[in-house]
Symmetry: C2
Subunit: 146 residues, 2 copies
């Protein structure tokens, strides 16, 4: 798996879960399909559980499943659950006595805030049910749960 792909992993996984919400998915199954490691999957899905998007069951026959109906989970929910930022302008990185940097930060922080919100608003218009329904191909390798 490539770098910084947690968002992709999360969206992808929930897209599949939307196709079959009642099925318990183990982190091993998910990891194998996503071409990554079960521990990495648990790390990422753990964030989604904290945010109330997923539930997990320990023990035999345990695993992961959606905590809500697929049409009630948007891509924005997933993005926010991961707690990542589009752009990180570390303020501590700023030389405290340089007024140009202060000025720049004033301008940029507004832009960043607005861009972030714009991104979230867009993501909020798509649910994982939409993602699941919109699939176009009929490949057996991954979509046979539908």
């Amino acid at each position: 798996m490539k770098r910084n792909s947690r968002l992709a992993l999360a969206m992808h996984t929930l897209g599949h879960m939307a196709a079959n919400p009642s099925h318990m998915h183990t982190s091993s199954e998910i990891a194998e399909h996503a071409g990554t490691n079960p521990v990495v999957v648990r790390r990422v899905l753990g964030k989604l559980r904290e945010a109330g998007l997923l539930t997990s069951e320990k023990g035999h026959a345990g695993g992961w499943c959606l905590a809500r109906e697929p049409h009630l989970i948007t891509l924005a929910d997933i993005y926010l659950a991961l707690g990542e930022r589009l752009i990180s302008m570390d303020e501590n990185d700023c030389a405290p006595d340089c007024c140009i940097e202060h000025s720049l930060l004033n301008h940029i922080s507004e832009v960043i805030k607005s861009t972030e919100q714009n991104f979230i608003n867009h993501l909020a218009t798509t649910t994982i049910a939409d993602v699941q329904k919109a699939k176009k191909c009929k490949c057996k390798t991954c979509c046979d749960e539908a």
Copy 2:
């Protein structure tokens, strides 16, 4: 200097140059002020030169200066010159036979494109002359060129 700070370095540097467009700035001076290395500065400013925002002169008394009036260089120009992307959803990372990923990519690529454009539009409303003028403090350490 921290990670992925090329944009910050570029904006910061051009903000200072806007205060005194006629002065030739050497990469050593810039690097020292920005707390980094002359070669790193040349790398970043080289991109801005390719984009026509800066000119550089070799040899004795050489250095860098703005290629246009400060009020004709926006933060969007700088961002675009660096050729970076806010969000990179590597399509090659996508399993080619997974239709959920295809569906996801269809949804997301539009969102990314729109967000990127929104970001650029916001940046385009601020010029480096604005950044320079808006500075509030009177510190001698960095703004004595004004």
